[in-house]
Symmetry: none
Subunit: 198 residues, 2 copies
DNA sequence: ATTGCGTTTAGATATATATCTAATTATATA
DNA sequence: TATATAATTAGATATATATCTAAACGCAAT
């Protein structure tokens, strides 16, 4: 997961002093002492910030005698920006397909919690199993159809008498969407799956 | 100085929990309780992060009964990214103002693409020139005024009959900001300029 | 009214970090 | 070798912040 890299990138840019350093470097190479003077900071402070920027690969260094010159690393500055946007806007990239543990657990839940007539014996207390049971029921609804609350209740009753709780769970776990008393199925990408809850 | 805004933008993105929230929101609206569950965090922690993201204008909220739904504010996420790069790479801010190539290109575009009555003969296909034409038009709007979509259309029509395209380009290139059908001018620092697009 | 549920606020705690001074290291020169 | 300059490291301090629990708030249903 490149999450840590993206965090490091933004951490590096989330300090006014470091941004001012980058601004100064945008005009060309500058050495540490000069940065300290221009920013009215001590040299150790400059070293501190330079280390942060170097760790995020936003600057490069060159040593000449006992003087260290800094300059921008423009490719990485831009790359971090692009990687962040890609990360944030990457809708559902991390979806995974059928796994054996999941399907066997699913079978076990359907066998043990649902009677032959289709009724739900009890709402599973264990989170994973509850989600499986909820999903099993919700998949019998029509995508794209707008239901009233009354209709949802009537739909749930054949499964379980406590329709209010189950209706709430449908919303809480993103199986359904509610607005102004109207209920509608969410797309499956939005459903809460126990694999995503770590 | 917009330094503080850029710092705030990166601070908002410099936490792994907040990035995970944005990732979840990239698939669509999610409410607070669901976020807390999916992330294994307490609700107050979600509120805390939501406040940070809201302050940086990276998310928007909608309330239905006592449930708050969050969603991304993609324009601002992108705008912050562009503003940062623009800030860092603003070489020699003082002398970049009046360069001959830019101003002559601007004059040429204004001369060749706009008729004497002010109408835009055609939308420039070349990127640089299109931005110049868009900026020329958008500068005739009042900063700080909130326009309806109808008003924007009526504003554009005297320039060009394809107001829908131009209205979209205003948003796409960050000249304007849109929320709930309301349009407002962005500050010029946010505008996309062709010098930064290489 | 009372209860239930989702959210927010308040307050506490632990960790992270920006900055400084003082001491140490690295490099070059007299 | 001794000295000067630049950089780094070590250690101290103050501020910021991510997280939690407990309490308060807002809204809807009974």
């Amino acid at each position: 997961m490149q999450l840590d890299k993206i965090v490091a990138y933004h951490k590096a840019l989330s300090d006014p002093t470091r941004l001012r350093i980058l601004l100064l470097l945008s005009k060309g190479e500058v050495h540490g002492h000069a940065l300290a003077e221009k920013l009215n900071l001590s040299q150790p402070t400059v070293t501190h910030h330079a280390a942060k920027l170097r760790e995020a690969a936003l600057i490069m260094e060159r040593r000449d005698k006992n003087t260290v010159y800094f300059k921008l690393n423009p490719e990485f500055i831009q790359a971090g920006s692009e990687a962040s946007l890609k990360f944030i806007f990457a809708k559902g990239v991390e979806e995974m397909e059928e796994e054996s543990p999941e399907s066997s657990l699913k079978e076990s839940v359907l066998r043990n919690f649902f009677a032959k007539d289709g009724r739900l014996r009890q709402i599973p207390a264990q989170y994973k199993k509850k989600l499986i049971a909820l999903q099993y029921m919700v998949e019998k609804l029509e995508p794209g159809v707008v239901y009233s609350e009354k209709e949802i209740n009537e739909f749930i009753k054949p499964f379980h008498e406590d329709y209010a709780t189950i209706r709430r769970e449908f919303i809480m776990h993103q199986f359904m969407y509610r607005e102004n008393e109207k209920y509608e199925l969410n797309p499956p990408e939005l459903w809460t799956h126990w694999e995503n809850v770590k």
